[in-house]
């Protein structure tokens, strides 16, 4: 049997994937550990030890990227998990327009992130944008969505949720539709209200969907770059810089070692948070 496995499923089938993935993903990842401790310009390098990492944590303009990345990842993750679940519950009820609404919610995912950034920057224009006009109509003073240091990051987060909540919703819909209907029937015969059914049946049984959404949204948030870059460019000041935008800025400024160190910090953070989170979440899953 063992021999047969080897004869049919030749390891050569893995070769193209291993070569391309190894060459352009694994090798760069491994050597990034080395180059993050150098000052280099792609052709020559000088060893500086941990200096790049020290700079990263001591300089405000770099350190703030780490903090913003956490806020961004956590906020987009929580909002997508909650709002997506809400939409999915509505769309798995008896609503007749659900297919149409599902498509409407999902469509922003197909628009490029840069385009979404441009559209929302226009909507958030401080003096004539639609958002402030609506607020003005309601008698609330205008908000400088992208120009105010304390708000700008949250404006981008809001845009990210608008674009990405559709994926969370369809993942939940798949999970909720897989729950057998008899559970709900039995529960309502026993007199459970729909709120109670939601908390005792829907949430525990679509756990694996919730986990997928958490992981996807969190990792996506940690890596975010294009939306930030097209909406604020990291500004005002450094108020919306994330690790990924700091990596790009350092690259553009020619500080390749520092940029690589940022990259290493990003994967260490993801590895330290996402892997244990993933293991913890999957250990709590139950089979439907």
């Amino acid at each position: 049997m063992k021999k047969k496995t080897k004869t049919i499923y030749s390891a050569w089938f893995l070769a193209p994937a291993v070569i391309i993935f190894g060459l352009l993903f694994i090798i760069p990842t491994v050597i990034s550990l080395f180059f993050s401790m150098t000052v280099w310009d792609l052709s020559s390098f000088r060893w500086v030890g941990l200096q790049n990492f020290i700079d990263f944590f001591s300089e405000y303009s770099l350190r703030i990227g780490i903090k913003n990345t956490f806020i961004y990842a956590a906020a987009t993750c929580v909002l997508k998990v909650v709002i997506g679940l809400l939409f999915a519950v509505i769309l798995t009820s008896k609503i007749r327009t659900k297919n149409l609404v599902r498509s409407i919610i999902f469509f922003p995912n197909l628009i490029s992130t840069v385009a979404v950034g441009i559209i929302f920057s226009a909507l958030m224009h401080p003096s004539k944008g639609l958002f402030n006009e609506v607020l003005g109509f309601l008698g609330i003073g205008g908000i400088n969505w992208l120009g105010d240091r304390s708000i700008a990051l949250y404006s981008v987060i809001m845009t990210d949720v608008w674009k990405g909540v559709g994926v969370a919703t369809v993942i939940y819909i798949a999970g909720i539709s897989a729950i057998p209907k008899d559970y709900y029937e039995a529960a309502s015969l026993d007199g459970a209200t729909s709120v109670k059914q939601f908390f005792t049946i829907t949430i525990p049984l679509c756990r694996s969907s919730i986990n997928s959404v958490i992981i996807l949204a969190f990792i996506g948030g940690m890596r975010t770059f294009d939306l930030i870059w097209s909406m604020t460019g990291g500004g005002p000041g450094f108020a919306t810089d994330t690790i990924a935008s700091v990596i790009y800025k350092q690259y553009a400024a020619g500080f390749y070692g520092l940029s690589t160190a940022g990259n290493v910090i990003m994967f260490l953070l993801i590895a330290v948070i996402a892997f244990p989170l993933f293991n913890y979440l999957t250990s709590k899953e139950v089979e439907v």
Binding site: F13, L14, P16, A122, A244
Partner: protein, 277 residues
């Protein structure tokens, strides 16, 4: 009974209207402003245009900078086509073997690939490697990078789907004297069509809309992709919202067409792929 029906109809309408309000308004804003004159569009309102300038705006968006957008569109289509083609061939084979073999080699490969789902790429070292083998700033290099970054997700899709195909098929074919490459190419590959079409659509959207990777790995105007062009227009047209929005519409139309035809496949594919990960 009638009361319940009325209630349900009311819920229908409320859900539809609020989804249109939240998700449709920005799109309506985009479209309506691409029809306006420059002065009119600068007001950034959702009011009906005073005068329509549809042909003019779209022609201008097209012809700007010597039809740069057409060249960029060509580049993007080229990159998308070859990346997706490569991904499907490479990942179908890899997913097939990883799902079937239970030895150490396939476990290691699987582990590496799953790690790739989470860990972001190391950008500058990738440029360094690309420069070393002479593919930096080339379309070919860009295609290889898109393939490398798409391998984890696509392989996972194929590996998951292989689980639903019984092993006996290959074993029977082996007894009939079929070689290992023919088993894959003639017997297994046709069975993978459903998941392959899902993977094609999802990866085509990802690669076509990719901004970050071309920004790093394919800089320069010569090989600009459509998303980079859009980003450059953003700086250039900062006051000509009508043209900027016309541009966005032009480059979103392919995705819209894809979505209209493959709506169900895209949505189900995203959901299935995400859950299996």
């Amino acid at each position: 009974m009638i009361k319940r029906k009325v209630k349900l109809a009311a819920a229908d309408i409320i859900v539809l209207l609020s989804s249109l309000l939240i998700f449709g308004t920005p799109l309506y804003f985009l479209v309506i402003n691409s029809f306006k004159s420059q002065k009119d569009a600068r007001a950034l309102s959702i009011a009906w245009p005073e005068t329509f300038h549809i042909g003019e705006n779209f022609y201008e968006a097209f012809s700007n900078q010597n039809y740069l957008i057409i060249r960029a569109f060509g580049n993007s289509v080229l990159i998308t086509f070859f990346s997706v083609l490569g991904l499907i061939c490479i990942c179908a084979m890899a997913g097939y073997v990883i799902q079937r073999r239970k030895d150490r080699l396939s476990k290691i490969v699987n582990g590496c690939i799953l790690t790739g789902l989470m860990i972001p790429p190391a950008i500058l070292p990738t440029i360094w490697v690309m420069q070393g083998i002479g593919i930096y700033k080339t379309i070919f290099g860009m295609v290889l990078v898109e393939i490398a970054l798409g391998i984890p997700f696509t392989t996972m899709l194929f590996r998951g789907y292989m689980g639903s195909i019984p092993r006996e098929i290959e074993e029977a074919a082996l007894i009939d004297g079929c070689g290992k490459f023919r088993i894959f190419a003639v017997i297994i590959a046709p069975l993978l069509k459903p998941i392959a079409s899902t993977a094609v659509i999802l990866q085509a959207v990802t690669v076509f809309n990719d901004f970050v990777n071309p920004l790093y790995f394919l800089p320069g105007n010569k090989n600009a992709t459509i998303q980079l062009t859009l980003y450059n227009f953003m700086g250039k047209f900062s006051n000509k919202y009508n043209l900027l929005f016309a541009d966005i519409i032009l480059i979103t139309i392919p995705m819209l067409v894809l979505f209209i035809f493959f709506n169900k496949r895209i949505i189900d594919g995203m959901a299935a792929g995400a859950v299996k990960g």
